[in-house]
Symmetry: C2
Subunit: 214 residues, 2 copies
C-alpha cells in the first residue's frame, strides 16, 4: 500500500491530515482498534463530512458502522504525508533559530534528515551542533550534490535571506523552507514553504490587544 | 505616536506587515530615507495598492512622489505589531522543540519574554536552559500569576497537549501558542495561535513529490 503523492492536494487538507495522524497515533497507543469519522470530528472540531472527504484523497474509506481501522489509517497517513521517508536537508544560518532547529530531534521523526549546517561565521563553521557538522558557505554546492540534499532551510538574518535562497537554488535544492520574516523569490519549479513564527507572534499580539479587559 | 491595536486586523494583513518591517529595517540599515509603495511592491511581490491599504490600517500614509519615510514606518510597524513591547510567556514542555525555542533569542527581539519553562520530567525541572529556569508542573499557577504571564507556549507531546492547554487557561494565560501537531480546544476569549511546523513539512513534501522529475 504505497500512497505516493501524485496529486497536488489542497493545502487546507494537507494541514488537517497531520491532526488526524496525531489523533490516531494516540488512539493506537491506547489500544483502540476502530474510530468513526464522527468521533474524530468531535475530538478535533472538524466537520465529519470534511474528514471523510480529506481521507478519501488518500484512498482511505471507513466501513459502515465500524469506521476506520486505526492502525491502517495511521500507517497510511504517515506514508502519505512523507513522514516515513527520509528527506535530506541543509540548514543555512546556524545562529539562534537555526541552532535551535538543529537540536530539534522531532523534525527527524517527521522525515526531515538535516545532514549539515552552513554558517558564514568562521567561529561556527568547523564545529558541530547536536552532532551535525557545520560548514562554511563555499561548501554549499558540493554538500547539496554529494549528500543528495533536496531541501534548504533558511534561518539567516533578513538581509542575507534572498542571496542565500539564490545560492541554495543554484546549488540544486528543490525546496526552500523559509523561517525568516521576509518574502523570498524563487524560480518556477522550486517549492517554497514559509514558517514565519514572528508573523504568528504579530497575529497573537494583535488578538491579545483586542481582547476585552479581564 | 502610539498605534495600540484596538481593531482586529485581517490576518493576511497581519502576516504581511512583518515583511514590510523586515524590508524597511534593511533599507534603514542601508541609509535609505524614503521608499515608495511601488518599490516595496517590487521587492516583496505584493501588489502596491495592497501595500497602501495595509499601511493605512496602521495610520501610515505615504507622501506623493516621495513615498514613506523609512525610519517612521519602521518604528510604527514595530510598535503596531507589538514587537517593541514585552509579552511574558511560559513554555510548557522543555524537550526537543521546547528546549530549542528557549534558546532562540530571536523571539526576545520580537517582544516575547519567556520567563520560565515547565516540564514534568523531574530530571529537567530545577535546571536552567539558556539561563531560563525550568519548574515542575505544580508551579504553573503561581508562575503565571506572580510573573504576569499572558502567553502559554505548548510544546509537549500530543497526548498531553489538551490537558496542558486546559491547565494553562485555568492558570490564567490569555493566549496559547500551540506548536504541537494537534488541534487544541480553548474557551471563548482565549487566543489560540497554531504554528504547526510538521504540517508545513507535510505541505513541502507533497509539493516536492508532485514536481516533475529533473
Amino acid at each position: 500500500m504505497n500512497h505516493k503523492p501524485t496529486d497536488l492536494l489542497p493545502e487546507p487538507t494537507l494541514r488537517r491530515l497531520p491532526w488526524y495522524l496525531a489523533y490516531v497515533t494516540m488512539l493506537r497507543a491506547d489500544g483502540v482498534e476502530y474510530v468513526s469519522s464522527t468521533r474524530i470530528a468531535e475530538n478535533l472540531a472538524v466537520d465529519a463530512s470534511q474528514i471523510a472527504k480529506d481521507l478519501s484523497f488518500i484512498n482511505i474509506k471507513g466501513k459502515t458502522r465500524i469506521g476506520y481501522e486505526v492502525a491502517t489509517l495511521e500507517v497510511a497517513l504517515r506514508e502519505y504525508l512523507g513522514f516515513s521517508q527520509r528527506h535530506n536537508a541543509v540548514i543555512v544560518g546556524a545562529g539562534s533559530l537555526g541552532g535551535a532547529l538543529l537540536q530539534d530531534s522531532g523534525l527527524h521523526r517527521y522525515g526531515l534528515n538535516i545532514v549539515a549546517g552552513i554558517d558564514s561565521d568562521p567561529a561556527v563553521a568547523g564545529t558541530q551542533i547536536a552532532g551535525i557538522p557545520i560548514y562554511a558557505p563555499d561548501r554549499m554546492g558540493s554538500l547539496v550534490r554529494d549528500l543528495g540534499v533536496s531541501i534548504g532551510i533558511v534561518t539567516v538574518p533578513v538581509e542575507s535571506a534572498q542571496s542565500v535562497a539564490n545560492a541554495l537554488v543554484e546549488a540544486g535544492v528543490r525546496a526552500l523552507w523559509n523561517f525568516t520574516p521576509t518574502r523570498l523569490r524563487v524560480p518556477e519549479g522550486v517549492v517554497i514553504t514559509n514558517t514565519s513564527i514572528y508573523s504568528h507572534l504579530a497575529v497573537m499580539y494583535n488578538r491579545l490587544g483586542t481582547l476585552p479587559e479581564k
